[in-house]
């Protein structure tokens, strides 16, 4: 249940070669990146389209508007592996097929979240969806860097607990 490594995210150099493709992530040769160059994920086992779709799927499963894409990218990064690549290819193909059935080109190019969520509902009982969703519970919410966005303060022993730091400071009751 440990945190997912952030390796591969600091490769801003890759961005110079990036070609724009969609609002969320930019897919280039062997990586996807934020349009504003804030982060990038290198992919070597799954395709750029698959990783970008996984990232969008992660956002749509657990959407937090104040949580940046880079945290979702960290959460799905581990799917870029030899062991996962077949499951990812099949899962994303099924997701794109479901998008087509719903009248869209593919999942990524479906513009509205509500439409994408409706597509996800069609596949939510599949092992692929459940694996991605289950993995996000720790992959996203157990990133210490995400906690401050929710106000959660984490470890407190080293600061002497809250006895002098507001354990009873509520002022609106």
């Amino acid at each position: 249940m440990s945190q997912i490594s952030k390796q591969g995210l600091s490769r801003r150099a890759l961005l110079s070669r990036a070609a724009a493709a969609g609002a969320l992530a930019v897919a280039g040769a062997g990586f996807i990146a934020a349009p504003d160059a804030a982060w990038a994920v290198e992919v070597s086992n799954v395709s750029e389209h698959e990783m970008a779709t996984l990232l969008q799927m992660a956002r749509d499963i657990y959407p937090h508007d104040k949580v940046g894409d880079r945290f979702y990218a960290i959460a799905v990064k581990s799917y870029d592996s030899e062991e996962q690549k077949q499951a990812v290819a099949e899962g994303i193909a099924a997701l794109d097929a479901a998008a087509k059935e719903a009248g869209f080109e593919d999942y990524l190019s479906t513009g509205w979240e509500a439409d994408r969520v409706a597509i996800l509902r069609r596949i939510e009982d599949t092992p692929f969806f459940q694996t991605v969703r289950g993995g996000l519970v720790t992959g996203l919410y157990n990133q210490k860097e995400v906690w401050p966005i929710f106000g959660y303060q984490g470890e407190s022993y080293s600061e002497g607990g809250y006895i002098n730091r507001g354990f009873d400071d509520i002022d609106w009751l």
Binding site: G151, Y162, I163, F167, D168
Partner: protein, 524 residues
């Protein structure tokens, strides 16, 4: 301090205790203090306050029992956490490392559940073969050992933010018995342990030692007598017996995975309510074909887990419930038996806080999308409470041996559980009250949350007057085997509305007294 004892595997004068949690750890120390030689075998490793981590998942990885188990029945845990029916510890000190510290006595009538509630269809209710008057002095000793607040002249803890919200709502609804609880957490220095620093990671092991755990109190004190040897990473596989039907020792896998045999004069089983019946069932022999001490067929049956659930609520402004004690206060008004509410027995409401990582996992397991995530977006403005009520014992809610095996090749426990209609009615009542409490303080949204994997596990080797109704007698001694005892929460005849550990500890202190006397008299 005396060297911790070392006993020979062939020493058949020792008492062997399986498990070192709230029950086993206390029993080990109490016996050692009386001069009885004890070998305590613990499947997990040793961790002390300096080892505990203020991080929910990392701590889970360090302490939790994650050996395989299987589940069945219609409880939601079987779907959402099919391999994790319980959230309990595998370590020296057992689940007393995890626990929140709420330490309540049973109410008098709860010792007589069958008599008080009458016949309840589908329930296998029974009166305890013990009563409140008989238990009172043992509760006194248990409260003094644990340093329980609000009794014995010990002040209560201060209330944190989560408590203050809860208290305000409770008072608005007219509840009378509302306070910061009876907690095995020091409000002032006590018994060489410091007072609570309101750190807020009580479930992850108290790094200050302010909360009682057998891991750093009873166990080292027992060892200091020179009468107690604790072997960690010692997983007991089977209890052995002779032709006369008395137990003679146990087989266990040691640190290196080698099978060892420890002889014993007496064996006490305290592995918590899944592992204790599993061990008895795995100890079947030609003489005890259905499992040791199981002539009644009751081993593993009547599994109880308390009727639980949580209510979280969000507010316009911050609460920051994670600051301070995890279980910071209680409402006791609903704990009474009042069948006009549509169910027998009662429930307690206790504050509870989870960190963000556990909140994400347990708020609504399996849920996704904005209905779920917008609740988490308000995490900072959230308050929470936990419901703990008496559930009905049912014969088919039971631990049996599964076809699955653990890494030692031992059959694992399958836990079958379905709610009784009384449990459902009680939970729904409690949800309604919990929601009303938070609404009274201006909640913007309330979230009645399903039960977590079990933290209270009770009843699978229950105590009974008559041998055909249960597994052990009023002293926790097996009806069928004269020198075999059960020393944990699996002895519970019924669960009562209260968190169980104070009663487990009181029973262990009482049992130590009984065993020492019987040994001295030459009766066992």
């Amino acid at each position: 301090m005396a060297e911790a004892a070392k006993f020979e595997l062939g020493d058949d004068s020792v008492v062997v205790i399986v498990g070192t949690g709230a029950g086993g750890g206390v029993l080990a120390n109490e016996l050692a203090q009386k001069g009885v030689k004890v070998v305590a075998l613990e499947a997990g490793g040793r961790y002390l306050p300096e080892d505990y981590v203020n991080d929910e998942w990392e701590s889970f990885g360090q302490l939790a029992w994650t050996d395989p188990r299987t589940t069945s029945g219609d409880w939601r845990v079987a779907k959402d956490f099919s391999g994790l029916p319980a959230w309990i510890v595998k370590a020296v000190g057992g689940t007393s490392i995890h626990w929140a510290g709420a330490s309540l006595r049973f109410q008098d009538h709860e010792w007589r559940a069958r008599t008080t509630y009458g016949e309840v269809e589908g329930a296998s209710l029974l009166d305890w073969p013990l009563d409140a008057a008989e238990m009172a002095p043992w509760y006194d000793k248990a409260e003094a050992k644990l340093g329980v607040t609000g009794v014995g002249g010990r002040p209560r803890l201060p209330g944190n933010n989560n408590y203050l919200v809860f208290e305000k709502g409770a008072k608005a609804l007219g509840y009378q018995e509302v306070h910061t609880g009876n907690m095995a957490i020091n409000s002032v220095e006590y018994d060489d342990r410091m007072s609570c620093q309101q750190t807020g990671f009580c479930f992850q092991g108290c790094k200050w030692g302010a909360k009682w755990s057998s891991a750093y109190t009873d166990i080292p004190r027992g060892e200091a007598t020179g009468n107690l040897e604790v072997r960690d990473h010692a997983h007991v596989a089977r209890i052995l017996h002779d032709d006369s039907g008395k137990v003679t020792g146990v087989e266990y896998f040691d640190k290196d995975g080698n099978l060892q045999m420890q002889k014993a004069r007496i064996v006490c089983v305290a592995g918590n309510s899944f592992e204790s019946p599993r061990l008895l069932l795995n100890s079947a022999s030609s003489m005890f074909p259905d499992g040791l001490a199981n002539s009644s067929g009751q081993v593993g049956r009547n599994y109880m887990r308390h009727t639980t659930g949580s209510v979280y609520a969000t507010f316009e402004r911050p609460v920051r419930m994670w600051r301070g004690t995890t279980m910071a206060g209680i409402i006791r008004d609903e704990a009474k038996h009042d069948p006009s509410r549509g169910f027998v027995g009662g429930y307690e409401l206790e504050t509870l806080a989870l960190g963000l990582p556990f909140m994400a996992a347990f708020l609504d397991p399996g849920a996704w999308g904005r209905e779920f995530t917008t609740a988490l977006d308000s995490y900072e403005n959230m308050a929470g409470m936990w419901i703990v009520g008496e559930d009905m014992p049912q014969a088919d809610n039971r631990v049996t041996l599964s076809d699955a095996e653990d890494s030692f090749g031992l059959k694992v426990a399958n836990v079958n559980f379905s709610d009784h209609p009384n449990d459902v009615a009680m939970r729904n009542h409690a949800y309604k009250q919990g929601v009303a409490i938070y609404d009274a303080v201006g909640a913007t949204r309330t979230l009645p949350t399903p039960p977590y994997p079990s933290t209270h596990n009770l009843g699978t080797n229950r105590m009974s007057e008559k041998p055909e109704d249960g597994v052990v007698d009023r002293n926790g001694r097996a009806h069928d085997v004269a020198n075999l005892f059960v020393s944990d929460g699996s002895q519970f005849t019924t669960g009562a509305a209260e968190n169980p550990t104070l009663t487990i500890v009181a029973l262990a202190i009482r049992q130590a007294d009984h065993i020492a006397k019987e040994m001295a008299a030459g009766n066992i």
